[in-house]
């Protein structure tokens, strides 16, 4: 008889010990819940002074973010404003464009790549790619940042950014390889593996009877995928997109290394120059200000940015939950 079985036979029986175990384990769950709730509360409390000072203008535009932060660091408020004065729209805008662009690009590419992997790729290619994709998903963001700043950014600087373009905006902002495009492209590559893995997994789970039935009706493979398989897997794709958005939203280190040296508000009306302007997403800004956490007003501002990220992550979680609820409802109806 194995040791486990022996222990099982000798193990305690009785409602009392079970109740104790339930309470103990339940307490663990409560601890986790308290930690999470406490996190939200403490971050918001620490962030409150910044919000209350600026009101809704916190989310708006005004002076440049860099000068506002410098003012706080040097304890020399900008003329006409209190020391907590902060307008974060450039940061929010930077977050929005990088996240939306990266997720949209990754969605399209991942769907086609998954279709390739599950339907058209030779078996050998598939077998080699699976571990490679898994490895890519596990590569730390700082390494992506390193590759970006040492290999991608110089390439973009040399081959995509012309000197005339740089000169044309030299009095407003310095353009180099660290810009919106580099950051978004690397962000796309970072979230691709998750989406490809989820989509490919889902495509493989489509019942073979549907694919066989469609083939027997004389419909070619691509149309079968488009009309039947993709329709069956879009719940999984939606869930994967929510996951990828959360990852893109919270990406701090890589974007801090690669998106440029100033919290510039990239302007789409600038035409092609827009793609080469530096941006500064929220998470990256927090990461870069990590030394300023001891300074009073600066720390309130940073925690305010953190609170915004926290609320966004919570809302994203909610969106993911509602998506799953919709799917559950549809599943019952279907």
């Amino acid at each position: 008889m194995s040791g486990g079985a022996r222990q099982l036979i000798r193990g305690r029986s009785g409602a009392a010990s079970d109740k104790r175990a339930e309470l103990l384990l339940g307490a663990l769950g409560v601890i986790v819940l308290v930690l999470i709730a406490g996190m939200v509360v403490t971050v918001v409390i620490k962030a409150w002074p910044s919000f209350s000072h600026n009101g809704l203008g916190w989310f708006g535009t005004g002076a440049e973010v860099d000068s506002e932060l410098r003012a706080m660091r040097e304890a020399a408020p900008l003329p006409g404003h209190g020391i907590l004065y902060f307008t974060s729209w450039p940061l929010i805008w930077g977050t929005i464009i990088t996240t939306v662009a990266a997720v949209a690009l990754a969605l399209i590419v991942s769907i086609f790549a998954s279709i390739f992997l599950t339907e058209f790729a030779p078996a050998r290619v598939r077998r080699t790619l699976d571990p490679v994709i898994r490895l890519l998903a596990g590569v730390p963001s700082v390494i992506y940042g390193l590759i970006g700043i040492l290999a991608i950014a110089p390439w973009v600087n040399e081959h995509l950014l012309s000197n005339s373009r740089k000169k044309s905006v030299i009095y407003v902002v310095q353009l180099n390889g660290n810009n919106l495009t580099t950051g978004t492209l690397i962000l796309t590559v970072m979230i691709l593996p998750i989406m490809v893995a989820i989509t490919a997994n889902a495509l493989e789970s489509v019942p073979a009877s549907w694919r066989e039935g469609s083939a027997a009706l004389g419909v070619n493979r691509w149309r079968t995928i488009r009309r039947v398989s993709l329709r069956a897997v879009w719940p999984a794709v939606a869930a994967g997109t929510v996951l990828a958005t959360a990852r893109a939203l919270g990406e701090a280190v890589m974007l801090a290394m690669v998106t440029g040296g100033s919290a510039f508000q990239a302007n789409p009306l600038d035409g092609f120059t827009f793609f080469f302007e530096p941006v500064r997403p929220l998470a990256a800004q927090i990461f870069l200000e990590s030394e300023g956490l001891t300074i009073g007003p600066l720390s309130h501002t940073i925690y305010a940015m953190g609170a915004l990220l926290l609320v966004s992550a919570a809302m994203l979680s909610l969106v993911g939950w509602t998506v799953k609820q919709q799917l559950a409802k549809q599943g019952v109806r279907a």
Partner: protein
């Protein structure tokens, strides 16, 4: 009451006779019911078809998966106006033969073939495969409606045939709607679903789903309909409905049905081909194969000695 102690044992006392459900009145006009004591089913009554024409010819066909020859030198005609049943034990190659008729065997890697299969005189391997499969449609053992509405399911193969026209126009065009209605009518499903064609196909009952699959297969107006044990997953009443449907369809479509249910073959078929271990042992009209088989193996199988 201690939750850990088992409940007290009660003695089971039978103080009345167990109730036996009386036999139900058979549905009016049924002609497939086996009366108590009769050993065999009865052939479903049918109008004889005046002209049968040969649609497909299977000539000396060999089929293999890997090194294993599953079908050996089989030759059969497939005629419109009659139902051809392929019978035999498991592993006799009847399903493989059926699937080779619409080149579904090509999906399996390692399949090999020899011999000739012709549709209206043309070798099917010279036809474009998707064109062939619209002329020779198949219904599978498990109903497999797509996760779409009933309308979309039936219109599926037609909708995918004309990619030039815009999708929205295509979906609701009157010709398509007419074709869907015709197919549903031929499959005997129109009355039951006419009210709401946009309902999800997955909410139909098993028998209805299988009839939907038949309607879907009929939508492109195929010349040949292949049925791979279509009733094995269904209850007897749905089975009876589908068998009558098959009889009514045989005038306009050549029907080939694979079944391991001898009674079903007897009820439904006009011609029967008995296969054993890949070889065609006997082929002939169904009364001859069942009542006066020429081969000993056939006699053994039909009488239930094996299989």
């Amino acid at each position: 009451m201690d939750p850990l102690m088992p409940p007290p044992i009660r003695r089971i006392v039978l103080d009345r006779e167990p109730t036996v459900a009386p036999p139900r009145e058979p549905p009016s006009g049924a002609n497939g019911s086996a009366s108590a004591g009769a050993a065999l089913a009865q052939r479903i009554a049918r109008q004889p078809v005046a002209n049968t024409r040969e649609r497909m010819s299977i000539e000396g066909v060999w089929l293999a998966y890997g090194d294993n020859w599953v079908v050996r030198d089989v030759s059969l005609p497939v005629r419109q106006g009659e139902v051809l049943a392929l019978i035999g034990a498991s592993g006799s190659g009847k399903t493989t033969l059926l699937r080779s008729l619409n080149r579904l065997t090509e999906i399996t890697p390692g399949a090999a073939r020899a011999g000739r299969i012709a549709l209206d005189g043309t070798d099917i391997h010279e036809l474009e495969v998707n064109y062939l499969r619209r002329r020779v449609s198949m219904v599978f053992q498990q109903p497999n409606p797509f996760p779409m509405s009933i309308y979309d399911n039936v219109a599926y193969s037609l909708a995918e045939q004309n990619p030039e026209r815009g999708r929205r126009r295509r979906r609701r065009s009157p010709e398509l709607g007419q074709a869907v209605e015709d197919a549903l009518r031929r499959a005997g499903l129109l009355d039951e679903v006419a009210g709401d064609l946009d309902r999800s196909a997955l909410r139909l009952s098993g028998g209805q789903q299988q009839r939907l699959c038949i309607a879907r297969a009929l939508a492109a107006k195929p010349q040949v309909l292949l049925l791979d044990e279509p009733c094995s997953a269904l209850d007897p009443i749905s089975t009876a409905t589908i068998e009558e449907l098959i009889i009514s369809l045989r005038e306009s479509v050549a029907v080939v049905i694979v079944t391991h249910n001898l009674q079903q073959a007897f009820r439904v078929a006009d011609h029967v081909a008995f296969m054993h271990l890949g070889e065609l042992v006997e082929y002939g009209p169904s009364e001859q194969v069942f009542d006066r088989p020429r081969e000993q193996r056939t006699r053994d199988y039909v009488s239930g000695a094996f299989g």
